[in-house]
Symmetry: D2
Subunit: 333 residues, 4 copies
């Protein structure tokens, strides 16, 4: 029986070696709102994010992802999820309530990333001067910088994107939507997407050919319209931020993308558009890069810098990486 | 325990006294695709609808809604839903498999509308010349007329929108998102919205002050971008179709709307945009028309014709309708 | 021989009884840039305006237009224009160089408005921190508030829009593009548009039924895309600014409009879109309001407040105004 | 004295070795309207083009441009233009009235292309079923395929883009807006743009390193909004037409571009957006490719195929072409 166990991606903890510069970028240029601070972390949210925070920015030696937080579909589903995670042998135990949330259960995903699941959340309450004319909005839109509406998805590196996708589907009820195999090696899955919502993914999985587990590829934010992605590119360029890739359109998920780096080195994405798919029994669709899985217009290569993941790591001597770099053919999403 | 029982609005049967003119409009001007016919009905779908059909067009004496079809979240959820409907005393029994779907269970909603729930569906298979460059699309976009992407929602008339919304929430797991009370009578709920997905509604409920149950207000279709709503308005006007209301923006749901009539007399909507909300425990938000519940820019009245519902009916002598017409203040969605 | 004598609308002086509130609105909410001040005036420009200023804000007892400044197509054309204006008996003489411009010749237009023509201009030079990544832009886009790109047009009140349009065409080489007559009185021209560029108008003319000459209807600014007009509406609403009319689409000129008031009381417009027409021998097109001259979707009335012009004035006892208010039928642009 | 002598680019004659396939593409997929035929040519126009035709499609052995037609700003300006062209020694004499136009004077531009100038035009008259709801439109929008609104610009190959731009400015009153020099050779101008209107160019000039004069790079058409460029990409891809380059954004002119080939081999562009500049004394702006002259986001290379011009030709042994291919760095527009 298909069950919806997770209701949404709630927040992601980002590690940055340049916490002050990162914070200034996230608030002034990217246009997030600060919710609060404690020792070592600043809590941020988009204007349309309903909870206390969607980004936790924490100082660290290297750019990386700290942990990924998911809200379950209810308190009973939290129990069920914990049961399944323990049965799968990946549980790391409960943690105390943290800023913005009640007790959470932490687990290590198959790619080595630290995740947490929880039900209780603290909702953001806007002060009078930020109350929106739309009573269903948590606050007025941020008129500063890019001003994305909400957190959208996180894309991580892992040894086996296809196997992981099956694991997220079978263990936690994610839907497995689409994946990419190489044109020259149809057995090698280099990217796949799983989702808890109507979009193609709130968790992206990219093949990692290093021995370092738990690496991050990018964190993505949503804007209401494709025009807003183009406006974001303009805002970023005029602020002196290099656009790494895009604006363009992914074939997988049909989303319009724009990638760039924050000062700590991490890659961020602004995206919009994409399909709405409601089928619980959706069968994952296979793409090849030549079909436009990454760049739908099939007329450009992804820049090599898009291969970088965080923290940086050397190729594994024990893994057979593709002879031809798959990313140069546009497989990453 | 919150459970997702329904996965999506799958199709709506529309009754038309002008079947030929309606069909020509739906295919040539509105840009739907014909899937098949049987005695009395033509089956239609949008290019992005995955199933055999999303609209069933049936000849009848008056414009009205025939039935409304919902796909459950799985086979087990179908059983659970049937159990609950029977317990609620609204079941009308199973019907044989129909074009595009397996056995369905029919029930009468609190507003008197005929609904059906089912799990098994027939998926549309595009012939080679309609296969899309995007393998996750069911076919190429329809380049003819408006060409909406998919069915979006149905809005019906009922005596008690608030009570019905609670019923859909408690009986079938819909989320109750937003509702409107009159500025001059905060006890009178004139519109409310429930949803099975991330948008504000796939089922809208408008207060009916007549004695005729089961009436339809409009059927809505989705386009990818707000610009496409404006393009739809242009296409319709140039085809000689009067625009009844819009393009404009609803405060409730934040969607951009455009209303018009098909030749049988029924009201259709093209919409895009709107928020994405994933909270299972969302508490319904109350609006007043003066806040822009209907027309967010708060500077225009909905035309009186938007009061029409189908079939036409006289006000009930036994219902106390508001002294001031609520719709003239823009309460309908 | 058709000649292009005027190259563009360069600036408009606005009079406001609330100079501080107006200035704060123009800079903080509307997103203009301050260029400088002298006694009684603040000089403002949009980020994409190339000259020293496009708006001069001057304190006065009542909201009104001070003067309207046009740049000629060259120094020779300035001589020719002055010659023609003197021959037409409307010249008021040369004035000394002013902030941002060289000597200008002032004249009184047929509606009683004070205009000036000049050739020499001072160009805005961005400081290093505002230099754009696009070397052909005068500065980076203003990321604050609405942030329109450039001044677009001015619309004034006058006794005889049609006659004035002929005067501007014959005396100064404007093109006469479109006009509106009433459905019930095809001899009464209530609105007309003349232009020095490819759009429908940089000077709009509305029939005035009072005895006060030289009144203003609105001043309009340009944004790059229709989506930006919608974004402007959102920004204004969230800043507590009432939207007077729109967003909507004019039939005349095909532009998307949005009207609101600044704190001094004057009406401003944000617009985008519209046709590009390059025919020197274009014959003016006649519209009736019922065709959608004002609101192309033909399903809403312009609010009565849109009748206000500045300064306020009573209807003239000597002018026969239309029995039915033409503006309520949507004739103004 | 600056004078506006040319009012607009009126039509371009395209030569195609596959006239039937080209015609089918131009009408069915690209969405132009056929105006008429004579021996060897089919006359086409966009729905928003006001004259009899904007494209003349003529059978030939190789893909190439036949001639380029410009309408003058008036009959007197036609005389003046002819005088200047004869004085410049490039006149080829008058030709008889042709379909859609009166007598025209032909001349050979500095790049070896055949141009003609004329004043008298035949305007397209829509049959009743194609009359638009907008009386200022020549007809209803074409609902078939891409359906561009109007001809936008032509870009040709020439030995000396900078010198040619000066020639068009000094001889015919075009404005010289922007040009690109190589980063590694600031004396080599590889692209420049001149215009008769408010946009950056209706005539683009690309450095040709062959000995074949009069070659074509592409012909460009206009759509109202950037979203329409994205829609065009979707329509073309779904019709099996390869997208050669884009959608993307040029730094020069700020326009959003999309390049592809018609079946005869010629390159077409769909574009939208871009600035509006009205300064007669504009000084041309110099760009380097590294600034984003071609691809403003500075993160991708133009594909080598974009070097192709028509007819195909070998590099000249006598011209020193840049050691590094400038186009691979994105210099072309």
């Amino acid at each position: 029986m298909y069950e919806r166990l997770i209701s949404q991606l709630a927040h992601v903890e980002l590690l940055t070696p340049s916490p002050e510069e990162s914070l200034r970028f996230f608030t002034d240029v990217f246009g997030l709102e600060e919710s609060g601070r404690d020792d070592g972390s600043v809590y941020l949210r988009c204007w349309g994010d309903f909870f206390f925070h969607s980004v936790q920015l924490t100082e660290a030696a290297e750019p990386a992802v700290g942990h990924i937080g998911w809200r379950t579909a209810g308190p009973d589903q939290l129990e069920l999820v914990v049961e399944r995670l323990e049965k799968a042998g990946v549980g790391e135990g409960w943690i105390e309530p943290q800023p913005g949330q009640g007790s959470a259960f932490r687990y290590r995903g198959p790619g080595g990333h630290l995740h947490e699941v929880f039900w209780e959340v603290e909702r953001y309450e806007a002060p009078p001067e930020k109350r929106s004319a739309f009573p269903a909005r948590p606050q007025t839109p941020t008129a500063r910088g890019v001003g994305p509406r909400q957190l959208d998805h996180v894309t991580v590196m892992t040894r086996d994107p296809y196997g992981d996708s099956e694991w997220y589907r079978d263990t936690l009820g994610y839907r497995f939507m689409e994946y990419t195999v190489l044109d020259e090696n149809p057995d090698l899955v280099v990217f796949s997407m799983v989702t808890t919502n109507e979009k193609s993914h709130d968790l992206g999985l990219i093949a990692d050919f290093t021995d370092v587990p738990g690496r991050l590829h990018h964190l993505a934010f949503w804007v209401d319209a494709v025009e807003d992605v183009l406006r974001a590119a303009d805002v970023l360029m005029e602020a002196g931020t290099h656009i790494e890739f895009g604006p363009g359109r992914h074939g997988m998920g049909e989303q319009t993308y724009l990638y760039f780096r924050e000062p700590g080195g991490l890659r961020l994405e602004v995206n919009s558009g994409g399909y709405r798919n409601y089928q619980p029994d959706w069968q994952p669709v296979k793409w090849r890069p030549s079909q436009g899985s990454n760049t739908m217009y099939r007329n450009l290569s992804m820049p090599d810098s898009m291969l970088d993941a965080f923290p940086a790591a050397a190729p594994s001597p024990e893994v057979e990486a593709p002879a031809v770099n798959p990313w140069a053919q546009g497989a990453v999403h």
